[in-house]
Structure formats: structure tokens, C-alpha cells
């Protein structure tokens, strides 16, 4: 028991020194290679601690190797091309035309994922932003639309995303699908062409189709959300 205790102490000290030297950031801000190194280092430290038949030197050498790899990648990342290969490039997912579905597809993201990322930046409507960039560390950077002077007070409810009805939100908010279909028919828009359609309590509709820019308009008549 004492042996395991002492081995754990030693490994902890080695890990702490190495991670301090690496200058680790929070998990959410890690580059892909940093995440890989963190995952591998955890295993390298654990196995020698718990398995007495494995020399501690095995774990220490493994951890030091991860440190060397980390430093090497940081050095290589000074070259833009290498940085793009190792960490990828930031991708603009929202621009003045609206959601860039091609960019989302490249990032293996859905519109829902984008909306979630936007909410974490405290933006609840696409009307509030001009541009959104997905950084290589998974964070979303947003350029706000300064023309919107009032912050969004209502939450736009997604009704259609990527050509499919969002049945959960529709039933939860009592949205009449027929009315929405009528709106689309009036604008000669097919359901399959709708990238994103959302409405809020003030009957403000956000609509983006495959071949048109995003539009924001107030719907006349009865409220779509009951």
C-alpha cells in the first residue's frame, strides 16, 4: 500500500511539473493535439501507479515523451502550413448571407449545434450577429450586429432545420404547422430547401433557404407561438 502511495505521489509530481511546463489551458480551449496528449498522459501516469510490476520509469519516460512531442508541435506550429495541418483552420460558419451550410458540413456540425454554440456566447437569435467563426479549439467567436440596439428578449423557437420539422419544439410551443406551411407556400419555398426557420413570441421569423440569404421579418396576423 505504501508503495502505491509513494508511486502515486511521484507520478503526480512528474505530471504537475510537465503540465506546468506545457502551459495547459482549460479543456474547452485545447487544440486537438493538446487534447490527445492530455488523454494519453492520464493513462501513462495511471498504469505504473496501480500496477507494481510496471516500473515507474516506464510512465515517466512516456510522460516526458508527450512533453517533447508537445514542444515539437508548438515549434512546428510557427509555420502556418504546419499549423493548418496540425490544428486545422478557423471556419466562418455564419456570414452576412446567413448560415454557411457547407462550412457546417465540413465541421460535422448540424444547425442545432451551431445554435447551441451561439447560445453559449449569449446570442439567441441569428439577427444579433453578423459573423460567427468556429475556432480550431472548438470555441465560437461572434461579431455582433451593432444595428440591433435591443438585446433579444424572446427566444426564437426552431421550427424547421435542414429541411425537417422540429416536432419537439413545435408541439411544446403549440406552433401550427399548417400556418408555417402556408407561409412557405406563399413564398414558393419547398420544405426541403429550408435551412433554418424559427419564430419567436413577437411573431418575428428567421428564415434561411438553400439558395437565398437569411431574412428576418415580422409575420402579420395571428401569432404562430401560442
Amino acid at each position: 500500500m505504501i508503495i502505491i502511495f509513494l508511486r502515486a505521489l511521484i507520478m503526480f509530481t512528474v505530471l504537475l511539473v510537465v503540465i506546468r511546463l506545457m502551459g495547459k489551458r482549460q479543456i474547452g480551449e485545447m487544440e486537438p493535439f493538446e487534447l490527445v496528449i492530455t488523454l494519453v498522459i492520464a493513462d501513462l501516469a495511471c498504469i505504473p501507479v496501480s500496477d507494481r510490476t510496471v516500473p515507474l520509469t516506464f510512465g515517466i519516460v512516456g510522460i516526458l515523451t508527450m512533453f517533447v512531442i508537445h514542444q515539437l508541435i508548438l515549434l512546428l506550429s510557427k509555420n502556418m502550413r504546419m499549423q493548418n495541418i496540425l490544428s486545422g483552420k478557423p471556419v466562418m460558419v455564419v456570414d452576412k448571407s446567413g448560415i454557411n451550410t457547407y462550412a457546417l458540413h465540413r465541421l460535422n456540425m448540424q444547425v442545432n449545434d451551431l445554435l447551441q454554440a451561439l447560445r453559449t456566447t449569449n446570442h439567441f437569435s441569428l439577427e444579433e450577429i453578423l459573423y460567427a467563426i468556429m475556432e480550431t479549439n472548438g470555441q465560437l467567436t461572434v461579431v455582433e450586429n451593432k444595428q440591433i440596439t435591443e438585446k433579444q428578449q424572446t427566444l426564437p423557437v426552431p421550427v424547421i432545420m435542414q429541411g425537417k420539422w422540429d416536432e419537439d419544439d413545435i408541439s411544446r410551443n403549440g406552433i401550427d404547422k399548417n400556418k408555417v406551411q402556408a407561409l412557405l407556400k406563399k413564398r414558393k419555398i419547398k420544405l426541403s430547401h429550408v435551412v433554418f426557420l424559427a419564430v419567436d413570441e413577437k411573431n418575428r421569423m428567421t428564415l434561411q433557404t438553400k439558395n437565398r440569404s437569411i431574412s428576418f421579418e415580422n409575420i402579420e396576423g395571428e401569432k404562430l407561438i401560442k
Binding site: L21, T53, L64, Q71, L75
Partner: protein, 125 residues
């Protein structure tokens, strides 16, 4: 050069130095003990191995074992220790044929273990 690059280079030198030292030291020390084991096999085949000579060999292994457990998986090291104890039993019991067989196993292990630390392709993969 900033401190991170220096730290990285130092770590790399440490790893490479330790690795080379490990291969050289382990190989050389095991070679010596393996040669000694060879001599014991010859003596045992001639029925002239004494307990004192065997004890000397066991002491040599004991010293090597301490270094080995620092650098090698303990299961490999344990195997040799076990076999040496077993061979000692055969020697004390006068079971010469078993003693020779056991010493040959020990010799094979003493050749096999240092080979495992050499960074060959098949060891890496």
C-alpha cells in the same frame, strides 16, 4: 531559444541518454551473468558444480535484479529469480539432470530479457 524549447530539448536528451544507457548497461550486465550461467552449465554437466559457486552466481543475479526492476517489467525479472531458486533446490537435492535443464532455461531467459530492450521494429510494434 525560449525556455520551453530548452526544456523540450533537455527532456529529449534525457530520454535518449537513458534509453541508450539502458540498452548498453542491461545488455552488458546480462551478458556477464549469462556467461557465468554458461560456466555453471558446464560444471553441472560434469557433476562438479558446488553450492558455493552457485551461491556466487545467485548473488550476481541478486545485484542485477535490483537494477532490472528499475528498468524492466517485473514479471520478466521474477521469472529468472524463481528459476534460480528452483535450480538451487535441484543442486541441494542432488538432482543433476533437472539442475542442468533449469540452468539452460535460466540462460535462455538471461539472453531473452536484454533483447527485449533493444528498439527493434518488432519490439516497437
Amino acid at each position: 531559444m525560449n525556455k520551453n524549447v530548452i526544456a523540450g530539448l533537455l527532456a529529449l536528451l534525457l530520454i535518449l541518454g537513458a534509453g541508450i544507457t539502458e540498452v548498453l548497461i542491461v545488455s552488458n550486465r546480462y551478458k556477464v551473468v549469462s556467461q557465468r550461467c554458461n560456466e555453471l552449465i558446464s560444471l553441472a554437466e560434469n557433476n562438479s558444480l558446488t553450492q558455493k559457486e552457485y551461491q556466487q552466481f545467485a548473488d550476481d543475479w541478486s545485484k542485477l535484479r535490483t537494477l532490472s526492476e528499475l528498468l524492466l517489467p517485473h514479471t520478466d525479472v521474477y521469472e529468472v529469480t524463481l528459476r534460480i531458486s528452483e535450480a538451487e533446490g535441484y543442486l541441494i537435492g542432488g538432482m543433476n539432470e533437472d539442475l542442468v535443464a533449469q540452468l539452460k532455461v535460466i540462460k535462455t531467459l538471461l539472453e531473452y530479457i536484454p533483447d527485449n530492450v533493444v528498439p527493434d521494429f518488432h519490439h516497437i510494434v
